[in-house]
């Protein structure tokens, strides 16, 4: 008798499990006890790969439910550095990418993988480091600071360290740009010594590591602020004012003519939504309450006017 009950019980479990797979959702608890994640028709899943700096600031947590409601789709956000994000785009594993690496993006579009690129926000990078500032970079320009960090690091690799993203992200590309502008060959920098550490992680985790090791790091201001506050970072911002620190975010739809994707319509909707006045306003005010200043600047108000800012047609015209 006991055996029969056990058999029955296990058959029921097995059937339940198999059914749940067929349905495609998780059994038991629905995901909807918190109003922010209503489940729409689970068939339409719109996937984007996003740069980690946007993710780590929590901006997506905020925007995701809004877009899901607006477009009536399930949005899946995959956390990836720009390099990986573009790779996902080329493979067709995501429908759109949100990145901030001008060189890589241009190539991506030129190769035919991306279309309908629109810029929607910008902020700046900064160089953070230990308050004691052993390399003495406070207040210098970006290239000067990097020079000093290199020299100090080469002579005192135990006290002076630099944590690089090391993951082909937008931030990593910016870092490489600064090194080359400072007159260095990046390949040399990479193997120059143990003062130069490649984290291979997203922006947030890299900041944590820099904090751990009391090292210098290039970060975008938004992630830095968010982490400073939430995780009690002890590293501080040392170098901020420099045009080269301009960091512009854009969204690109994956081109269905080159890659096997199906949701171009939703991707376009998404891009237009990002540059719509309402959302631009949301982006512009995000973080103001908590951090005293907003973490991102909207492009639509035309406030971006230094070298490297995109032209208006790239941020104000809707995608057809």
């Amino acid at each position: 008798m006991k055996r029969k009950i056990l058999k029955l019980f296990s058959t029921i479990i097995a059937v339940m499990v198999l059914l749940s797979l067929l349905i495609g959702c998780k059994p038991a608890t629905p995901t909807t006890s918190v109003p922010q994640y209503p489940v729409h028709s689970p068939e339409t899943r719109f996937k984007i790969a996003t740069t980690t700096s946007l993710y780590d600031t929590g901006l997506w947590y905020y925007l995701e439910p809004m877009f899901e409601k607006y477009a009536d789709v399930e949005m899946d956000i995959i956390y990836a550095g720009t390099g990986i994000a573009l790779e996902y785009g080329k493979r067709g594993d995501v429908d759109a990418v949100v990145v901030h690496d001008p060189v890589a993006e241009t190539q991506f579009i030129a190769d035919g993988y991306g279309i309908n690129q629109r810029y929607f926000a910008y902020n700046f990078f900064l160089i953070a480091g230990p308050p004691a500032d052993p390399a003495g970079i406070k207040g210098l320009t970006a290239t000067e600071a990097f020079k000093k960090i290199y020299e100090a690091g080469m002579s005192n690799p135990d006290t002076v360290k630099f944590i690089s993203r090391g993951d082909n992200s937008g931030t990593h590309s910016k870092e490489k740009l600064i090194w080359s502008k400072a007159g260095y060959n990046y390949a040399d920098i990479e193997k120059s010594g143990k003062w130069y550490v490649e984290a291979g992680q997203g922006m947030g985790p890299t900041l944590m590591q820099a904090n751990q090791q009391q090292a210098y790091v290039l970060a975008d201001i938004s992630t830095f602020l968010a982490y400073s506050r939430n995780n009690n970072l002890t590293i501080v911002s040392l170098v901020e004012q420099d045009p080269i620190f301009l960091n512009v975010y854009d969204a690109i739809a994956v081109n269905p003519d080159t890659v096997k994707v199906q949701h171009l319509d939703i991707a376009n909707k998404f891009i237009n939504w990002l540059i719509s006045p309402e959302i631009q306003n949301v982006i512009g005010t995000y973080g103001k309450a908590e951090y005293g200043r907003s973490l991102f600047f909207p492009l639509s108000d035309g406030s971006c006017n230094i070298e490297g800012c995109p032209s208006p047609d790239k941020y104000s015209t809707q995608v057809p």
Partner: protein, 229 residues
């Protein structure tokens, strides 16, 4: 030190208050890992019986090969499954990448060697005469086979539990093919690794406590079953 202790207390609070995110991640993890275990079991039990009860050329080689893959690195399997199911891969038209389903598929691939190997070992542990006795008592070959399987049932349960343990505790595969998407493919292991690296200790600790508890329950059941001998 106090920071860790504070974190620990907050984590307990999350668990006890049935925090939605903790609950959701836990349920999903169990659903995915139990599904993989069940499916792998449905494949490995008949397959293991087939291999055990038939003598064929290269049987020893096959068994050795299976044992070689017992501890194949999860990221290796993850990479292969990713390349297979990526939209531009051979199985891309299924559109399964970054879904819980592909995670189940990947875990099935991951745990099958160990389940298969242990099922075969379990069957081997049954006296050959048991099969013979069944046949002599009038069983058909199929009935005699199921008799031997029943004789080995405790070892087979252990094999299932082992498989489940490996499935639920792996990170690499879940991360690579699942994408760790919040609310969709985030499981305990990927959540812990993400949250820890981002500095959100509280959620990590909460999930860690649950994961370790599950592991303890697994081990406890395993030893109880083995005592049944």
């Amino acid at each position: 030190m106090t920071a860790i202790w504070q974190g620990f207390l907050k984590a307990i609070e999350l668990i006890v208050s049935l925090n939605h995110e903790v609950l959701e991640i836990t349920v999903r993890t169990l659903a995915i890992s139990i599904s993989s275990t069940v499916i792998a079991g449905l494949i490995c039990l008949p397959l293991g019986s087939l291999i055990h009860f038939n003598n064929f050329r290269g049987k020893r080689t096959v068994i050795n090969l299976i044992q070689t893959f017992y501890s194949v690195p999860t990221v290796a399997v993850g990479l292969i499954v990713f390349l297979l199911f990526s939209r531009s891969g051979p199985l891309g038209f299924f559109e399964l990448l970054f879904t819980p389903q592909v995670m189940v598929i990947g875990q099935v691939i991951l745990i099958s060697p160990i389940m298969l190997g242990l099922v075969i070992a379990a069957l081997k542990g049954v006296d050959r005469a048991a099969y013979e006795t069944a046949i002599a008592t009038g069983a058909s070959e199929f009935q005699a086979t199921t008799t031997v399987i029943r004789e080995a049932r405790y070892s087979i349960y252990s094999a299932m539990i082992m498989g489940f343990g490996r499935a639920i505790s792996e990170v690499g595969l879940a991360l690579m093919v699942g994408g760790n998407i919040r609310g969709y493919t985030r499981v305990m292991t990927t959540a812990i690794s993400l949250e820890t690296s981002k500095g959100d200790i509280v959620l990590s600790i909460a999930l860690g406590i649950i994961l370790i508890s599950i592991a303890l329950i697994i081990n406890f059941s395993l030893s109880r079953l083995q005592q049944r001998y």
